[in-house]
Symmetry: C2
Subunit: 356 residues, 2 copies
């Protein structure tokens, strides 16, 4: 299995290195062979090549079994008048590799139960798997501007096609079958034409191919409420690119520890891309205090979804739960008690020790 590492910016290199060491430990324990190659993306790629996604990176990714990404971006590249931005690299790699499905599991960790900003009685039992459409919608719609002075106008178009809706709804419905068999589709069909198409096509797919899956639809504004009010009522949720961006970030607050949440971006075939959902945290970059667990859990998703190594993935997840149960906390998890917090390397080493 050849794995491309895209460390990126900020804390990216530190956390990806710990995930790599965990994968090495898995390879040793199970007798697998993983080969790693490191490529550039984001701000560092802009600095060194002028392009946030150099062609060499795309080529390496295309021929890989899977891709593990750290994070991109930082204040250094935030100039609004800049020709290109780190995020452009992320958007382009999604599109280039056809990674149309972004999977984001949102699950509480028993060991971090009181970390949630929500009341314990509300958040208890939350276990949602989001499928966010990732290569369509307003993100990749036609855009432009016109007029001058007071008349200056800018636009960008939200577009969905029948086939785009079908494939993501199918993938989400299949995942629902392996869980609690419930799927919720989120749209804004009372206002948006592409949402009406989405709703119609999703209903067809569900009726024809998944009559056994419990299916309902919720408007995006109502969903933003339900996630706070009764998050434990949802199982699998599927939605478009823009709504998914907002709702998955909202939902990411529920466990109370952004540093614990991985995500996977998958296509029809070809390599998947795995990453933590948190950003590049430039303020703590290079200090050795970043939490590597989300990236380590992303590596577990990679083993499961891109290599069908389920036992190995389970082992990583169990190891993470164990180090938490042992009381190990990076400073983001330590809450007020950051004195006793462990650093990035110590946390990674603790997970490796459990695996070995």
């Amino acid at each position: 299995h050849s794995i491309v590492l895209l460390p990126g910016d900020g804390i990216g290199p530190e956390i990806v290195e710990q995930a790599r060491l965990v994968l090495v430990a898995i390879a040793e324990r199970f007798g697998h062979e993983f080969t790693f190659s490191s490529q550039q993306i984001g701000g560092i790629a802009i600095d060194e090549t002028g392009d946030p996604l150099p062609q060499a990176t795309v080529d390496a990714c295309r021929s890989a079994s899977a891709i593990l990404l750290g994070a991109v971006g930082g204040p250094k590249w935030d100039d609004p008048s800049a020709k290109t931005r780190p995020e452009a690299g992320l958007l382009r790699i999604r599109k280039e590799l056809g990674l149309f499905a972004n999977l984001r599991p949102i699950k509480l960790f028993d060991q971090l139960a009181d970390a949630s900003p929500l009341r314990a009685d509300i958040v208890k039992g939350t276990d949602i798997l989001f499928f966010r459409e990732l290569t369509g919608g307003i993100y990749f719609g036609e855009s432009g501007s016109s007029g001058e002075g007071e008349d200056e106008t800018a636009f960008q178009s939200m577009t969905y096609s029948r086939s785009e809706v079908k494939r993501i709804v199918r993938m989400a419905a299949q995942a629902a079958r392996g869980r609690s068999n419930r799927l919720t589709s989120v749209d804004k069909a009372n206002v948006l034409e592409p949402s009406r198409l989405w709703r119609r096509v999703a209903a067809e797919v569900m009726a024809e191919e998944f009559p056994d899956v419990n299916y309902d639809v919720v408007l995006v504004d109502a969903m933003a409420m339900h996630l706070i009010n009764r998050p434990a009522d949802f199982d699998v949720v599927v939605t478009g690119n823009m709504f998914g961006d907002i709702l998955t970030d909202e939902a990411s607050m529920l466990p109370g520890s952004l540093g614990m949440l991985p995500s996977a971006s998958l296509g029809e075939s070809g390599p998947g891309l795995y990453e933590p959902i948190h950003g590049s945290a430039p303020d703590i970059a290079g200090k050795g205090v970043a939490n590597p667990l989300a990236t380590i859990l992303a590596a577990a998703m990679m083993l499961r979804h891109s290599m069908s190594l389920n036992e190995e993935a389970d082992l990583i997840e169990a190891a993470v739960a164990e180090v938490l149960a042992d009381g190990l906390r990076t400073s983001d998890l330590a809450r007020g008690d950051s004195e006793s917090a462990v650093g990035t390397e110590a946390m990674g080493a603790a997970v490796v020790a459990k695996i070995a």
Copy 2:
């Protein structure tokens, strides 16, 4: 002052009637003259005229001092293949009257402190005033569909012009001056062309006209997180139509009682439209149990914003706080103790009694 009442559907008529009685009590106490006329909107208007916003309603609204709306919609008009929907009436009246600014105050009620789904230490002190742009953006952008079969595609365009951004940012910044002098603008400038225009124009307005107001920008996905994680850090928030729809509904969960939240929709001049933010609650319509307080608080906003009757508005808000302090609860507020809950009329009468 001539006030147009638009009771609408579901619980609309019941709650608007209680707000009317409160306004009558105010008129008596302060020696004002309010005249009321009732007009149709939404589902009932479809049933009786075929149009969710009959011309007679538009004409009456145009010549009014202010408009008080109940709610629109219900399962009766939810058929996806229907020619028109109740919500279309709402969207059209916003546009017809040029109501480009939707104001949504989100404030905790001390008397309902433990109603929030958020932990008390997180939500404490939350007091946000949202300005949602209401007549532009993707809601009113060009839309359409093309192709057939598997190629069927639908689109809708998010559009913003310089002048649309200017007027809403100005209104929000002015409001900030009367509060804690802080304004946050929310966009998705790292992905959307109209958001980049929004960000640029907002920065210009703030630099040129409001250098005294503390100003910052936040991405919409990050804002969806902050509202859960640190809601008390925000004062005035301004954003576009779609993002505002999602974020204000998310924020509406924070006080833990949707039945307490009013909103105002204002234009450059002309009548404002005031309404509760909750829906038509068809399940409890006609039962006399709906909470009229959000509509009563909307009437208070009406007195303040459309008639400059600040003392009168303050009195209504104080009366609402007092009836809550007296322990009165409609069933939505009663939480598990709905036996002792009072009905719509009793709650309205209690507020009237405080005013008289």
